[in-house]
C-alpha cells in the first residue's frame, strides 16, 4: 500500500497536501460502508466506519501517527470533547439525590472492572504497571459508540438513559485517574497517595476550563435560541478552543468538555438539544473519530499470547460490568432484566480508551508499547463488537423504536403493524 501511496504522491500535488486527499477518500469510503452495513444488516453505521478504518490500518495506511500527535490528536480530542460535552449535559446531578443507587452502580461497576481486569492480567503474568494502566482503560465504556448506536436504532428508555449516564461517569473516572496516572508512569514505583495530587491537578484544571466553557454558553443561551444554527456553531467553536487550551494548561480536554456539559446542565435547567442541532458537522467529526481509532488500533500485534491477554481483558471487563450493575440494582428502580442489558450495553471501548493509551505511551517509553500491544486490539475489537452487543442489548431491552432488519429484505409481519415496519 505504501508503494501505491508513493507513486500517487509523485503524480499528484494537491493544494491541501496528500494526507487531506487520503483522509477525504477514506472518510468517503467509511460513509458508504456505514450506509451499506446499516442497510443490508441492520447493524449501526459505526460498524461500517470501524471496518473501513480497520481494513485501512491493516493494509498499512500511514495517515495517522502513533502515538497520537498533531492534528490527528486534536481532531480525536475534539470529537471526543463534543461527544462528552453532550453526554455530560445529560447528567442531572439531582437524579443521584433521588436515586443514589445509580451512582452506586456506576462506582461499583467501575471499581469491579478495574480490579477484575488488573487481577486477571497480573495472574497472566503481565507486569503490575501495565496491568494497572490497562485496568484503567477498561473502565471506559464509550459514550461515543453508545450515542451513535442510540441514534441509529432510535432507542430511548431506562436502559438507554442509564447506559449513557454510566458510560459518561465511567469515562469521568477513567480520564481523571488515567491522566493523573500517565503523569506518574515515568516513576518506577509510587505509593497510592502520590496519585492524589496529580488527580487533583487534572480534575481542577479541567474543571476550570469546563466552567469557563459552561459560563460562556450559559451567557450565550440567555440571548440565543438553543435550537439556532448559530448556537451550535458557537458551541463547536468554544469546545474547540477549550480542547486546545485544556491540554496546554495541564488538564484533560475531554474531561474539561465533560465537566463543562455537566455544569451547564446544572446552571441552565432549560432543555438542551445538542445532538439534533450539531447535525452533519458533528457526525463527520465522530465518523472521523471512529475511522481514526480503528486505523490506529488495527496496527496492533495479533500474536497468540496477545490474543489470549486481549480476550482475558475483554471477558473480565464484561463480567465485572454486568456484575457491578447487577449488585447495586436493587433499589435503583430497574428490573433484573434491564440490569443485564444495561451491563451488556456498556461493552464498547473506543476513542477515550485510545486517547488514554496514547497518553500512557507518550509518558512511559518503557511500558507504553506493552500497554498499547494489548490495548489496541482490545479497543478495535470492542469498537466493532461492542457496537453490535449494544445494539442487541437495546433491542432486547425493547428500547429501539424501529425493528432490527435489513431495509432491503422482505418485510416480515410485525406485531406492531402501525407503519413502523415501513419506516426508514
Amino acid at each position: 500500500m505504501n508503494e501505491i501511496m508513493a507513486v500517487w504522491a509523485e503524480w499528484l500535488k494537491p493544494s491541501a497536501g496528500l494526507p487531506t486527499v487520503q483522509w477525504s477518500i477514506l472518510l468517503a469510503m467509511a460513509a458508504i460502508a456505514g450506509h451499506l452495513i446499516q442497510r443490508y444488516t441492520g447493524l449501526p453505521k459505526v460498524v461500517g466506519y470501524s471496518a473501513v478504518g480497520a481494513v485501512a490500518g491493516l493494509a498499512g495506511f500511514s495517515g495517522a501517527a502513533w502515538p497520537l500527535q498533531g492534528i490527528s490528536l486534536f481532531l480525536l480530542e475534539l470529537g471526543v470533547a463534543v461527544v462528552l460535552f453532550e453526554a455530560g449535559g445529560r447528567i442531572p446531578l439531582r437524579w443521584f439525590r433521588h436515586n443514589p443507587m445509580v451512582l452506586v452502580q456506576s462506582v461499583l461497576e467501575s471499581l469491579l472492572t478495574y480490579f477484575a481486569v488488573f487481577w486477571v492480567l497480573v495472574w497472566l503474568e503481565v507486569p503490575h504497571v501495565v496491568a494497572e494502566a490497562l485496568a484503567i482503560v477498561a473502565i471506559v465504556a464509550s459514550p461515543a459508540v453508545l450515542s451513535r448506536v442510540v441514534l441509529d436504532t432510535r432507542a430511548s428508555g431506562p436502559v438507554t438513559e442509564r447506559a449513557m449516564v454510566l458510560a459518561t461517569l465511567g469515562t469521568l473516572y477513567a480520564l481523571t485517574w488515567g491522566s493523573a496516572k500517565a503523569g506518574l508512569m515515568f516513576r518506577p514505583s509510587h505509593p497510592l497517595t502520590d496519585t492524589v495530587y496529580p488527580v487533583a491537578v487534572v480534575l481542577g484544571l479541567s474543571f476550570v476550563v469546563g466552567a469557563v466553557l459552561a459560563l460562556a454558553l450559559r451567557s450565550a443561551l440567555r440571548v440565543m435560541n438553543p435550537t439556532s444554527e448559530n448556537t451550535s456553531m458557537l458551541l463547536l467553536a468554544l469546545i474547540a478552543a477549550g480542547t486546545a487550551l485544556a491540554a496546554h494548561f495541564g488538564g484533560s480536554a475531554p474531561l474539561a468538555a465533560l465537566l463543562g456539559g455537566m455544569l451547564l446542565k446544572q446552571l441552565n435547567p432549560r432543555p438542551w438539544t445538542v445532538p439534533r442541532q450539531l447535525g452533519t458537522a458533528a457526525s463527520i467529526l465522530t465518523m472521523l473519530m471512529f475511522v481514526l481509532v480503528s486505523v490506529v488500533a488495527a496496527r496492533a500485534d495479533w500474536s497468540a499470547p496477545v490474543v489470549t491477554l486481549v480476550l482475558a481483558l475483554i471477558g473480565a471487563r464484561a463480567l465485572a460490568k454486568i456484575t457491578g450493575v447487577a449488585l447495586a440494582n436493587p433499589g435503583s428502580g430497574a428490573s433484573w432484566r434491564q440490569a443485564l442489558w444495561l451491563g451488556c450495553a456498556m461493552a464498547p471501548m473506543s476513542s477515550v480508551a485510545l486517547l488514554l493509551v496514547s497518553q500512557f505511551v507518550v509518558s512511559s517509553p518503557a511500558n507504553g508499547p506493552m500497554i498499547a500491544r494489548i490495548a489496541l486490539p482490545a479497543i478495535l475489537l470492542m469498537e466493532v463488537l461492542g457496537a453490535v452487543i449494544t445494539t442487541l442489548a437495546l433491542y432486547r431491552a425493547g428500547e429501539s423504536s424501529k425493528p432490527w432488519q435489513s431495509q432491503v429484505a422482505p418485510m416480515p409481519e410485525s406485531r406492531d403493524s402501525t407503519g413502523d415496519r415501513y419506516g426508514a
Binding site: R90, W95, H98, S156, G157, G333, G398, R415, T418, D420
Partner: protein, 372 residues
C-alpha cells in the same frame, strides 16, 4: 354480546381518570417509561389505580369512588405526589396537557397488552396518533333511565367542558390555532362523536343489540363517544376533557360536572330533545377552536352568545348545588379563570411566546403539575 345491566352506584358519586405524559428530562420528548412507572407505583399503597395506556409513554391514574370534588382532589394529590417521586427516581417527568407539544406520533410504541395490540391492528396509525391525554369524569346515577337523561342533558354542556379543560394547542411542534386540538384526533375514530338519542335503557339496549349484530362493536368499550353510559359502574362517563395541567383544575372540573348533574337530577331544569344535536357539532367545534372565546348556540332557543358568558351563567345556576356538594372552591377557581379569559391552552401559548422553545414549555408544564 348483550348489554350488561346498569349497575348500582350512589347518585352523584364521582370517579376521575387522568391520562398523563411521561417525558425525559433531557429534551423533554415523550419517553417509554410506563412499565417502570407501574413497577415503582405498585410498591406504594395508594387509593385508586395506576394502569398503562395505549402507548408506552402514557400512564393513566384514577381515583376510587369519591363523594365530593375535595375528596377527588385529596386522592389525586396523593397519587400525584407518588408519581412525582417515582418519576424523580427514574429521572423522568410527569405532566398533564391534552397533547405533547412536539412529539412525533410515528416514534411511539404500542404498549404490549392484547387489547392495545388489537386496537393497533384495527386502527393502524390512528392508534399511535391516539397519544393524546384526556380526563374522564364518572358521575354516579341512581338508575339507568336517569343516567341516559343526565347524559343527554349534559351534552348541552360539552362545549363548557372542552373550553374549561383545553390544554392542547400544540401538535407536532405547531400551534394548531385550536385550544383543544386533541379532540380532532378522537374524531378520526369511526365510533366517536355523540351517543344515540335514547332516553330509556330499553331503547338504548335495542340500539346496542343492533350494533352488536352488525359485528362492528362487541362491548361498550368500542364506543368512543363524548359521553357514554358505563353500565358496570352505574355511571355516565364524560370524555371530552383535555387533561388539565394541575390536579387542582382536574378536581374542580369534576366538581362542576357533579354540580350540573345535581341540578339536572334534583331540579329537572329542561328536557333534552333530538334537536339539541343540531348545533352539537358546531358548538363543539367552536369550543375546540376558540376555547372560552367561542360562540355558543343555545340548542333550545337558537340564541347566540359567548361561551364564556354561558359558562358564567351556568355557574350561577348551579351555585346552590355546588355549595351543597362542597364543590364551591373548585367552581370559584374555574369562574376566576373564565372571568380572566384564562385556560391551560392560553397558559401554554403564553409560555411559548415567552420562551420560544416548546421543550421548555413542557419542562414548565411538568413543574406546574408538581404544584411548583
Amino acid at each position: 354480546m348483550a348489554l350488561e345491566p346498569f349497575g348500582n352506584s350512589a347518585a352523584l358519586s364521582l370517579g376521575v381518570e387522568l391520562e398523563l405524559q411521561l417525558v425525559n428530562t433531557n429534551d423533554y420528548d415523550l419517553a417509554p417509561y410506563s412499565d417502570d412507572m407501574l413497577r415503582l407505583m405498585a410498591k406504594v399503597p395508594l387509593p385508586g389505580s395506576v394502569v398503562p395506556e395505549m402507548t408506552s409513554s402514557m400512564i393513566e391514574i384514577s381515583t376510587d369512588v369519591c363523594h365530593s370534588s375535595s375528596e377527588v382532589l385529596g386522592q389525586l394529590t396523593q397519587i400525584r405526589d407518588a408519581l412525582v417521586k417515582s418519576a424523580d427516581k427514574l429521572n423522568i417527568a410527569v405532566l398533564g396537557g391534552g397533547t405533547h407539544p412536539f412529539q412525533m406520533w410515528h416514534e411511539r410504541r404500542i404498549y404490549d397488552k392484547p387489547r392495545f395490540r388489537e386496537l393497533s391492528e384495527l386502527y393502524g396509525y390512528l392508534s399511535k396518533q391516539f397519544t393524546i391525554f384526556g380526563q374522564h369524569v364518572h358521575v354516579g346515577c341512581p338508575d339507568a333511565n336517569t343516567a341516559l337523561l343526565t347524559l343527554h342533558r349534559m351534552s348541552r354542556y360539552i362545549p363548557h367542558f372542552i373550553a374549561l379543560s383545553a390544554s392542547s394547542p400544540f401538535v407536532q411542534a405547531q400551534d394548531t390555532a385550536f385550544d383543544s386540538a386533541r379532540l380532532n384526533s378522537v374524531f378520526a375514530f369511526p365510533l366517536s362523536g355523540r351517543a344515540p338519542f335514547a332516553l330509556t335503557w330499553d331503547d338504548f339496549s335495542a340500539y346496542f343489540d343492533k350494533m352488536t349484530r352488525t359485528g362492528v362493536v362487541k362491548s361498550m368499550k368500542d364506543f368512543y363517544w363524548d359521553i357514554r353510559p358505563k353500565p358496570e359502574y352505574g355511571t355516565i362517563e364524560i370524555r371530552v376533557f383535555d387533561t388539565p395541567l394541575t390536579v387542582g383544575r382536574a378536581a374542580a372540573l369534576a366538581g362542576y360536572v357533579q354540580s350540573l348533574a345535581s341540578w339536572f337530577m334534583e331540579d329537572d331544569p329542561f328536557m333534552p330533545t333530538e334537536d339539541d344535536y343540531l348545533v352539537y357539532t358546531y358548538n363543539r367545534f367552536q369550543a375546540c377552536r376558540f376555547g372560552l372565546e367561542a360562540v355558543y348556540v343555545d340548542p333550545a332557543t337558537g340564541e347566540h352568545t359567548t361561551l364564556r358568558e354561558h359558562i358564567l351563567a351556568t355557574m350561577a345556576q348551579v351555585h346552590r348545588h355546588a355549595h351543597k356538594l362542597n364543590a364551591s372552591a373548585g367552581i370559584h377557581l374555574l369562574r376566576t379563570s373564565v372571568e380572566q379569559g384564562n385556560n391551560d391552552a392560553r397558559w401554554l401559548r403564553e409560555r411559548q411566546t415567552h420562551e420560544r422553545l416548546l421543550a421548555e414549555v413542557v419542562r414548565q408544564g411538568a413543574q406546574k403539575f408538581r404544584g411548583l
